[in-house]
């Protein structure tokens, strides 16, 4: 079961902590909002992604299983 990063663009306020904590996958656009691709998280990236999701001040970053399963990082 693969896990993916997802962002709630309405909740996102461009704090940018996610890009600091998972720079391998997340970069910020010129306005400070996160960009990443759909590819699954692998290996140690999962733990970092969950940490990034917990660090997000507005719960905008989500870590989801298979895009249909349960989410972690925010219930």
């Amino acid at each position: 079961m693969s896990q993916h990063i997802k962002v709630n663009p309405i909740a996102c306020e461009a704090h940018g902590m996610c890009a600091e904590l998972l720079p391998e996958r997340i970069t910020l656009d010129e306005w400070g909002y996160p960009m990443f691709d759909d590819a699954p998280l692998h290996g140690s990236q999962v733990a970092h992604a969950i940490r990034a999701a917990r660090a997000c001040p507005t719960f905008a970053l989500l870590v989801e299983r298979d895009r249909t399963g349960k989410r972690s990082g925010r219930s």
Partner: protein, 237 residues
């Protein structure tokens, strides 16, 4: 001036010291909170670091706060019970000033609890409760000045004043940064801060720094007069 040690007074000293440390840490937590919400960062101080620091210092402050409460209950000198720690104004030792501490503690517990459980509550609800931090601090300061035995010592007064300056600076930064959005709230914050500072300037000399504060603040009669010197010894202030 040496402070005579009576039995059980270890807890009394711990209460006073942990109280002072808690005040310091709460001050730092508020300052870091403002730095955090203002999104300040440098390459060596990234956002997640400021945010983590804020969260961790707040937790540390809470630990010292709990120690402060625990030692005050365990101390056999002043009659402070478990209830008095959480329910304001029902105690027999300086009820009003102690009660302020209970109120502040209740607020901080709400903030800490919601922050630890924020994954399970909505962002809006968490944020609303978090505003209590700005109320909890001045109440805690008044509690410290009213109940504290050390206020007349310059070191604690100096610490209190420095903390006050730090918090006022933090609030000013926060309020002025988004000016003039939400003008009414910002104006009220400025006004409230100014009024509080003014109140302290007027009240301190006649209050805790004045004569016989121990009696006037509600220390039970049987605890008064343990020492002839009103400004020394524990239990006399």
């Amino acid at each position: 001036m040496s402070l005579p040690l009576a039995s059980g007074s270890l807890y009394w000293y711990l209460t006073r010291s942990t109280g002072a440390v808690a005040l310091l840490l709460l001050t730092i937590a508020i300052v870091l909170g403002v730095v955090d919400v203002q999104r300040w960062s440098t390459p060596r101080w990234p956002r997640f670091l400021v945010d983590s620091l804020h969260r961790n210092v707040s937790l540390l402050a809470f630990v010292f706060l709990l120690l402060h409460v625990l030692t005050s209950i365990l101390d056999s000198f002043a009659p402070i019970s478990l209830i008095d720690a959480f329910v304001p104004f029902v105690g027999s030792y300086r009820p009003f000033w102690l009660g302020l501490g209970a109120i502040s503690l209740d607020m901080i517990i709400a903030v800490i609890a919601t922050s630890l459980l924020r994954q399970h509550m909505g962002y809006a609800g968490w944020r609303a409760i978090h505003w209590l931090t700005y109320a909890s601090w001045p109440i805690a300061l008044l509690h410290g000045l009213g109940t504290g035995s050390d206020v007349q010592f310059s070191w604690l007064l100096a610490i209190s004043v420095l903390c006050l300056i730090a918090v006022i600076a933090a609030i000013m930064t926060r309020v002025l940064a988004g000016w003039p959005e939400n003008l009414r709230v910002r104006g009220a914050a400025l006004g409230g801060t100014g009024a509080f500072a003014l109140f302290l300037v007027l009240w301190l000399p006649q209050g805790p720094l004045g004569s016989e504060w121990a009696r006037r603040s509600g220390t039970p009669a049987k605890l008064l007069g343990h020492s002839k010197h009103a400004s020394t010894g524990h239990g006399a202030q």
